[in-house]
Symmetry: C2
Subunit: 681 residues, 2 copies
């Protein structure tokens, strides 16, 4: 890791000595690891870890047996539990344990991807874009990457089994890589504890440590209707790691903005985050009151409310982070200094990004509400949008399509449309009415779209009618429209379809404006900045996270909070002391019944200094031997600012200790067969 000394001294936010870094497997800094910890990992170790780690729709997971058994977080499969619940069996409340392999129910919208190969296509992209202006380059880049994804999938069709999916990945402006995944589209539910213990502490404890949340669940990947054979999987070491021990996190960190410019962060601080916070806080109030007011309705909003409260807490802390004027000022200073490394006569890319952000501020609310559909927060509307858009896009050549409707993406669209996911009319009306109110509030009652929609309606009356009259809740209706294509969709009188159709022109126009006037100049300028940064720092810089596979190393350790030491481990006994019998500090009966037989000294959770963010949920915590020694499910409160910068003194990842998983499966749930499978016997 050769870093020009002069630059290092100038660049205050440079990741120097901390165990920071979300590294791609291609460029993992094994030498730096060896120097820091005397631990070495070889290519076989890296391959084994990569092939045993999975990407779910919003999380990470790991294979933990040769029969496709998958370990992930309970909170990662909440929506599956909600989908599989019915009137008298709320699986969130009750938990779930499949009665043998023939009774593992499918999670209709879940899937699992394993990264099996990568191909760097940076040079091909550069060649294709030569001489084009920003907008043309932006369009051409997208078209080319779609072509390369398609070519990769066609080549991959020769693979031995399963589905090959290819994804063009942009690594911090300037590096383009095609990622090839083996996809498991058939994922089934094996085991989940009751949410009371899985989410013990609820929102108050979320992003807190010490912690006692049994946040794990088990799924299984299926292949042609039978458990997938997965020779690459982690052996669990139920003893867990020691304090100070080197540990790795493999996973899919969702999004960091560590290399974004001052202007981009100001846009977040001034517009994107406050807008989101206000919206989410109010929706939270509506969900909670809805659950309170109507007997039996609490369960209906539990899963969306948990997701929402998590997002709310994250964004609140992100806003706090961006109010740190000193950090923002450092970023500006760093930019000034990088600029000095550029040719004197070159265009100022930071200035170009600043101008693009100003334009984005103008487009933001209409684009968010109409193209982003935040003004139409409704499952049925999302179906309608998918049907209306796919009908048009499927008629175009692949490279000309919106990215989410390319040939490579259509199977996922079809899976979403076909899935039988219960929609509750009350919740649906709530979210739609709420979002229509925001549409009116934020665009104003005299905006043309708002006026047209609410000419003779209030947000409430319109939402109620749309939800009552749409038939898109029925998968058969959706599949009929999907198969019928443009002719069927154009002929449909379903009010949601009609709404999506009526909005589509305005929505597409907003998207085009964003692409041409914001995305294109930022992409071009970011590439120029990336080139300069590469000159200055070499490959010692890891790319921003973008929900693709990364590896990080660190160690088991606590930290110091307000002068007091926070221990790196928690133990089962304290959970019982902490329970007050009321949500969200309630321990389920299954545990209370067997309390006397439990070892109260069982380690429950642990903290490590690994560099993680949202998306890493469900990531295996791995030791140098390649064994799974924990299940990452959260970070501490300081980890949230990790989206923008890594504070080595306080940023901690939080993992479930494997010993508590064994204690639970063995003594509470009597899941002997599963334990045997986990033990490899």
């Amino acid at each position: 890791m050769r870093i020009p000394w002069l630059i290092l001294a100038l660049c205050v936010s440079f990741p120097a000595l901390a165990d920071e870094g979300m590294w791609t497997f291609d460029e993992f800094p094994a030498a730096a690891l060896a120097r820091a910890y005397g631990t070495s990992v070889d290519q076989a170790w890296l391959d084994h870890v990569r092939l045993s780690t999975l990407r779910l729709t919003n999380c990470t997971a790991a294979f933990v047996s040769g029969d496709g058994l998958i370990l992930t977080n309970h909170h990662c499969i909440e929506s599956c539990l909600a989908e599989l619940s019915y009137k008298d069996a709320n699986l969130l409340d009750r938990g779930f344990a499949a009665a043998g392999r023939t009774n593992e129910p499918r999670c209709a919208t879940q899937l699992a991807d394993v990264l099996v190969g990568t191909e760097n296509v940076t040079a091909r992209v550069a060649k294709a874009l030569r001489g084009l202006d920003d907008r043309a380059a932006n369009d051409r880049r997208k078209a080319l990457l779609t072509e390369l994804e398609g070519a990769c999938e066609r080549a991959g069709a020769k693979a031995k089994f399963g589905t090959v999916k290819c994804q063009a990945v942009t690594l911090n402006g300037g590096r383009y890589v095609i990622y090839r995944y083996q996809r498991y589209p058939d994922v089934r539910l094996v085991f989940a504890p009751e949410s009371r213990i899985a989410e013990f502490g609820g929102d108050p404890d979320n992003f807190q440590f010490p912690r006692w949340s049994l946040d794990f669940a088990l799924l299984r990947a299926y292949d042609k209707g039978r458990p997938a054979q997965t020779p690459n999987h982690f052996q669990i070491d139920f003893r867990g790691p020691q304090i100070g021990q080197v540990v790795f996190v493999a996973g899919n960190p969702g999004l960091t903005q560590r290399w974004q410019t001052h202007a981009e962060l100001e846009f977040e601080r001034d517009l994107a985050l406050p807008t989101a916070l206000l919206r989410l806080a109010e929706l939270r109030g509506r969900f909670i009151q809805f659950g309170d007011d109507t007997v039996g309705d609490q369960g209906l909003v539990e899963a969306p409310l948990n997701t929402l409260e998590n997002t709310l807490k994250v964004r609140r802390k992100l806003l706090d982070a961006l109010h740190d004027d000193i950090m923002l000022e450092r970023k500006r200073t760093e930019e000034h200094r990088l600029r000095e490394l550029m040719p004197a006569d070159s265009i100022d890319p930071w200035g170009e990004i600043e101008a693009a952000c100003r334009r984005e501020s103008e487009l933001y609310l209409p684009a968010l509400l109409i193209e982003g559909a935040v003004g139409f927060n409704s499952v049925l509307f999302r179906y309608a949008r998918l049907l209306v858009r796919s009908a048009d896009e499927r008629l175009k050549p692949d490279a000309d399509r919106l990215h989410e409707y390319t040939e490579s993406s259509l199977p996922r669209v079809e899976q979403l449309l076909a899935a039988r996911v219960p929609v509750n009319a009350g919740v649906e009306t709530l979210t739609l009415s709420f979002s229509l109110s925001r549409l009116r509030e934020w665009l104003g009652p005299d905006d043309p779209t708002v006026r047209k929609l609410l000419m003779k309606d209030s947000p409430d009356s319109l939402a109620t009618r749309l939800v009552a009259e749409s038939t898109l809740n029925d998968p058969a209706v959706r599949m009929q429209l999907w198969r019928g294509g443009k002719r069927a969709v154009d002929a449909s009188l379903d009010p949601m379809i009609m709404l999506a159709r009526a909005l589509d022109g305005a929505a597409r126009a907003l998207r085009r404006q964003l692409e041409d006037e914001v995305e294109a100049p930022i992409a071009a300028a970011s590439e120029r900045i990336a080139v300069t940064r590469l000159k200055a720092y070499g490959s010692a810089v890891y790319p921003d996270a973008n929900f693709t596979l990364r590896l990080n190393y660190g160690k088991v350790e606590g930290w110091t909070e307000n002068g007091a030491a926070v221990d790196a481990f928690t133990y089962l006994g304290r959970a019982f002391e902490r329970a007050n019998g009321m949500e969200p500090f309630q321990i389920p009966d299954s545990w209370l019944k067997v309390k006397d037989s439990l070892d109260l000294d069982t380690p429950f959770c642990l903290s490590t200094n690994n560099d993680i963010v949202g998306g890493n949920s469900g990531s295996p915590l791995i030791d140098a031997a390649g064994h799974l020694v924990g299940l990452t499910f959260d970070g501490n409160i300081h980890s949230i600012a990790g989206v923008y910068w890594f504070d080595a003194s306080k940023n901690r990842a939080v993992a479930l200790h494997p010993a508590i998983i064994r204690e639970a499966l063995d003594k509470v749930y009597g899941a002997k067969t599963l334990l045997e499978e986990l033990n490899g016997s």
Copy 2:
């Protein structure tokens, strides 16, 4: 208005040429007005305006007849309408017209104050504080001002009739003035239109212009049970003003922070505003859903929801304003330059304020939630706090008491406790449960206060029990405890009283910390800054608004929004076109029935460039002849940033035109007697 040229050139935010300024009547810049507009006002004009203008509990109002008739905004008396409503007669929905003077019902918690005299006591304060350190000075200042208030009231008792109230007013650090008011504690409801027309456009139109909200209502001041005789009152000129005409606004602007330091504004931006916004947005969601879910409950939350949505919109725009880095940077530059005018060896007052703000950030959440009682949002808890605190405070010498329990303040406390205000258990449980959740979220489940409260409870279960078991909803119970004093309160087993008692030690300790570690150093530093500022600018600087009487001049004018001219007047006809039959764009039947008889060209609202903020609601718009030519009820969206700085190009006040008041009273409501009274006949 002599301004040292050099300073003017340096000080970018100095109020130079605009019609900016919330002037005290003592220092109204009549000469500047004459120069700018060729209009002069004399002392008699100023006295007439001052004595005809009223301060209500949260608003401004004006006498408009010799028999104590008061004109103010409908939104200023919403809580009175809610209090006077009962099951089958929602006065917000229905409106109200008293059937003659003997049937005007009392607004139990309303009162009206007229400013009758002022005494500058700055020199006395300075003398008394000489040689004291910041904390001792802060305590001594408060005690002295309490003494001076008491002395003023005792002297005022010789006044001919009514109640004399005295208030020590601090004018931007360094100036202390005793304001003497004539108080009318008996204020009754005379007339209010239906809220559908009074608040036409609702929250979407709030702070917007063009506008069509008939936001007026009439009250009457009573004295010894009979209409008060008010020789000082405004004659209404129903023709209203012309475009470009000079107009004045007299009223009580609530709060500006134009002279606060960079550090104080950063505290607002980073902590106070985001905290408030998140809380209010979520509570808004709960109120709306509560109203939706329970048939007939919408009316229960209408008044608090309107207030909340207004506050939410204001704070959102205040946050936007503080995200203007250029304005904040200017403030810092200005501070650097003012500092250069200070003696080289003097303490840096801006640095002291910055340190105090850092301390305030640490204390903010516990102080807000526990001492500020934001964690106990409940009418019944407020009663309990008043009873517990007053029982202790009444035993102390006057000058040692908390300010809200001095002899001068006690009659108001008694009025609040005695008032028969309906409390709905559902709403009360909602707000209390909600605020307990915030208490737990923001202090954390392991905070000692939170742990004690929620040891065996959830926020919901605790709130439900407290509201169900407390008897403080009964005015007789409250008055018994009030009269029984400390012995009775200490012996009470009412759970709200017990809660308030249990919290009082921690709450008072937090208040003491805030006073000693934040308020005292800021008061001392602000005085030092004020002295420097006075040297630099002379009396050309008006003090920050603090809900005391001010006078501003300006003119009738529109503005330019995104390149389009906004006309200064709106007309009745457009309101009918805009109505869509759904809340909040619904015109009541009383208007639809007589639509044909109405003059659709009647002016409805107008915009002026007067410098106003919240608290100015209900302010008379006055012409140079001293006639009332409008009723200020709002500002445009740009006026909200007026809390921090005045943007002459866009900041506009919004007033109701007197012609629409006459049209409504005459043709819609047939209120001939009232119109005669208003016409002075």
